[in-house]
Subunit: 308 residues, 2 copies
């Protein structure tokens, strides 16, 4: 991590889980001289003030981005187009506009046209988070050992790109650069489909009339509780993800449903071999994820052995 | 927890994660005077010997169950019928035969007919486990604060039932009694469907050709890694669960698929309100599970903030 500022002023447009974690990590790494935070709601600003991760807090967009060297959009992606249009006249020449959204093609579509000549635009996505949200949920270690993906449009200034890479390294993250379209497909399978399925199964369980809700909760340790964690993620953020990565999500969902039908058929016809073969293959994937340092090897995610 | 033995000799037919955890918990609670373990494979017996959780270890079924007051079937449920037939002639009059399988109607169907007159038969299912397996994976705290479900067939001796309840309390578990058929439906939604879906999505991801396998692993922290944990569970055990709870699993899978189609349609038509409403409803379920003491409230299941 760096100990000299990479950007003088960083403006965080949005100070929820990701924005506030970036602020904590910026302070830890000493990568920014001044951290400015913007929120629409007074209540959010008040919470941020009490945590104290920003040098200045603003309910006015223009004041927040004024003189900023890096402007980070960190709100649900559905708000980006309007925000980009509003900040555009106030951006400093030579500044970089980036974001942290979970989709990237739609961001280029929505934000790109508003970015003025002389301002760099490099969309980004840190693959990190928790099921919690808001300015009190952030912590400095969120990005440590996780991957950040940058999706610079063709013709992006290479010095601006290197600077943003250094910034993310300074926050503890590893960095990859890829095409926005490829990002959207990769994330559709590694993140968007898992969230969609988790939301769906939790909804199905909630609806199941023959089983009372209290039983679903009581016996959730059998597997169900794992799904409820990601199904507790921020509803607005995830609505916007699905509305803005429609094609890739529908593509991987189609494949998932085909595979599910095959599995359904194997159960109906008692094809134990097909079940056993799939269940053996999937075990190896878990090992690879643990070996790659992307999850803990401890049983049950290392949940306390004692009941919480 | 009790400190006087509830059963004199307990025979564990199967000493994997559940059997070995029961042995550790029996020792901790002082609920058995002698713990006997059976395994088919010499390698398993050797591992169990080195961990040292049993008073005697056997490759001979008759020797293991001889004089036992409680006999616990703790192997994959597909093996129960043959095991029950083999142990039947060697069971002590007044003994109780139980099990730990994740399905209950099929166990009554497969084991019931073999249980001799004068021997009690009370199927059971502790709702506890990890993704690991084998005699080295067990630990005494596995059942603490979890639920154990007993499904006594009609006409079960009430003294034998109370004794088995005390035994599970002595292992740290809470106990409920219910009808086997109801158990199978509740578990289909809280455990079997989640496992099936996890196995399926991990398989789909593995197959997706446009995304390389290393990318699926690299960016798994976006949500996918949560599913890989339960998709790393024991393949033989889970094959047998699906083959033996076919009807209930197909029923809940049908509901899940209908809901999935509705969600797919909402994404295709850009129905943000439908998405937002579902995503808000599911968040409440997570809170209920945490409030019920069935999962940790810590973000990311309390995984270490530092990368493992």
């Amino acid at each position: 991590m760096s100990d000299s500022p990479i950007y003088d002023k960083v403006a965080l447009i949005g100070i929820g889980l990701i924005g506030s974690s970036m602020a904590h990590a910026m302070r830890r790494g000493g990568v920014a001289s001044h951290i400015a935070g913007y929120a629409h709601r007074a209540e959010t600003l008040e919470k941020a003030r009490s945590v104290g991760f920003a040098d200045s807090l603003h309910s006015d967009l223009a004041a927040c981005v004024k003189d900023a060297d890096l402007v980070v959009l960190a709100t649900p992606v559905g708000t980006y187009a309007v925000l980009a249009e509003q900040i555009a006249p106030h951006l400093k020449p030579g500044a970089t506009v980036t974001d942290v959204g979970s989709v990237k093609s739609a961001v280029i579509r929505d934000v790109g046209p508003h970015v003025p000549e002389g301002v760099h635009f490099i969309p980004a996505h840190p693959i990190a988070g928790t099921e919690q949200s808001g300015p009190e949920a952030g912590f400095a270690e969120l990005f440590d050992g996780r991957w950040g993906i940058l999706t610079p449009p063709p013709g992006t200034d290479s010095a601006a790109l290197e600077r943003l890479k250094s910034f993310w390294h300074g926050l503890g993250s590893d960095v990859e650069v890829m095409d926005a379209r490829h990002h959207d497909l990769v994330l559709a399978i590694t993140s968007h489909l898992p969230h969609l399925i988790a939301y769906n199964i939790v909804g199905t369980a909630d609806d199941l009339q023959a089983v009372t809700k209290s039983e679903v909760i009581k016996y959730s340790a059998g597997g169900f509780r794992d799904f409820t964690r990601i199904a507790a993620s921020d509803p607005t953020m995830w609505r916007d993800v699905f509305l803005n990565n429609r094609e890739a999500v529908l593509e991987v969902l189609g494949r998932f449903s085909e595979d599910m039908s095959a599995l359904q058929r194997a159960i109906r016809w008692g094809d134990g071999e097909a079940l056993f073969n799939l269940f053996t293959r999937t075990r190896a994937i878990r090992r690879s994820i643990v070996d790659a340092g992307q999850d803990t090897a401890a049983p049950n995610f290392g949940r306390s052995k004692k009941p919480s």
